[in-house]
Symmetry: C2
Subunit: 301 residues, 2 copies
């Protein structure tokens, strides 16, 4: 699992700060999460192949999470894309993108599939044999979802020595990997635990931006390996957080601690701050394992 942060700042793109966008690579699939203005340039700078992106998740329709999408969708067309592109985002996203493309008389020549979200409860929006994605309803000024992206539990690993010892035929191997016990010719039952090892624990990543401090999400993100949580503000601007429905570093760390996550990555920094070190310091007073996002930064998870 690898996270590439394309942009992690709030509000507007600036010379050195990009608004929210990131790519999660998980089980060899790429998921683009949010798409602020300039995302396609950041993708190029991070040398991410456009053709590997088949799913785009949009948390909410504020410009700093969304205004790069019409351009990216148009660029896919110019690059000769033929694969389906799936876009998940709040209701209204289809009308907006469709209108922009229609005005330029430049509809895509690849299948563009919108999945409009309206639920205020967690909702499974994607699933294949390797990965699942569930929404995390967030508390912001407009309808907003975070996303929980989880590897599926892999099949159990065959204990090669054990199956040799019991002389079990190859044709049973898939059943064994699927967790089945085996009955030998002499009617002895060999429990699966003797024939297999546990598969690697499935990794999980929760993206929570933008959101006010909200304990409601804790059960939904409990025990994830990595939590990306917004922290627009430091303690000094704490008074602004509830009003703007954003969070502080300490609030993000409180969520990380109470949800017992492995690693907290902080992002969505207000551009008012010259240095980001204080975000880490303030969060660490509550939760120890904290990293700061940065534009172009890669996390091997």
């Amino acid at each position: 699992m690898k996270l590439t942060v394309l942009g992690c700042y709030a509000a507007t793109p600036r010379s050195l700060n990009n608004p929210t966008s990131q790519v999660l690579e998980i089980k060899n699939q790429l998921f683009l999460i949010d798409c602020g203005e300039g995302t396609q340039v950041q993708l190029r700078k991070s040398k991410i192949k456009f053709s590997r992106i088949n799913h785009i998740l949009i948390s909410h329709l504020h410009g700093d999470h969304f205004f790069g999408l019409p351009g990216l969708i148009s660029t896919f067309r110019l690059l000769g894309r033929t694969n389906e592109l799936h876009v998940y985002g709040p209701k209204g996203i289809k009308e907006a993108i469709t209108l922009f493309l229609k005005l330029g008389d430049s509809w895509t020549n690849y299948p563009l599939v919108f999945h409009e979200l309206t639920s205020t409860e967690p909702e499974r929006i994607y699933e294949d044999d390797k990965v699942s994605i569930t929404t995390i309803p967030l508390e912001h000024r407009v309808y907003t979802n975070g996303f929980l992206i989880r590897e599926q539990l892999a099949e159990r690993k065959l204990n090669v020595k054990a199956v040799a010892k019991y002389k079990i035929d190859k044709c049973y191997f898939q059943n064994i990997k699927n967790g089945k016990d085996i009955v030998l010719d002499n009617n002895t039952i060999i429990p699966n635990a003797l024939l297999t090892f546990d598969p690697p624990a499935p990794k999980s990543y929760a993206f929570c931006s933008d959101t006010a401090f909200s304990r409601r999400i804790i059960p939904w993100i409990s025990n994830v390996d990595v939590l990306y949580h917004e922290t627009t503000f430091l303690e000094t601007e704490k008074r602004l957080a509830p009003k703007t429905k954003h969070a502080t570093a300490k609030e993000a760390a409180t969520i990380a601690k109470e949800a017992n996550v492995g690693l907290l990555i902080l992002g969505h920094f207000s551009t008012r701050y010259q240095s980001l070190d204080l975000f880490k310091e303030e969060a660490k007073t509550i939760f120890p394992n904290v990293e700061l996002a940065d534009d172009g930064k890669e996390f091997d998870l």
Copy 2:
């Protein structure tokens, strides 16, 4: 008159190439012409004050001329703008921008005035005592206008020595500057030409992008000081020009020559070309006074 090129490349924003946008400063007013994705970052890099922009002209609704507009309009709001902003562009632009702002529940708190264009003949879209703007209907795949921006003819300059010699009272000076003759007390008529000098010739700038080669525009841009004309292609890709309704460097130079302009600035280069020198070389075989646009380049005109 000063032109700042923010972006001058075709198709998509890339790490080092920005799509079309430029700022013309004329008589102390700034006019933003086109607004591809990334324009607001380019404005910052060129250190142009956002608050000085009160008029935005959009040639057409292809993404590389327009997809930076929702973000710029939102940023104006975040910067606390209070001045009116006037946006001139093809019909549909109001609906598109309005929808994007509405989806983010972030309508502007400054007056945003749309002037939607539909005419296929040149149309005066702006005029004050110093500057006028007229559309230049272009031939492209979608409805497209260039823009002719002209200084108004200034008042005539008083010949201080001459008015002293004829002992003309101050109260007549404004009439003299306006071109009136003067009747002295002895009924002698002093023709205005003896009392004034010609004002400086009004400067003019024509922006023509995107467009196929079209002699139709020549009378409209005749004798302008500066013509910016698109040249997506070199001669080697000439076959693509009519199909895509773009122009080559030689075609742009032909327009410049036949319209008898002062200076031709070439832009809207396809990103397929490694070097831009050939654009200048090819154009110079037809018209001598050619400059190449470049992102961030300033022309003092």
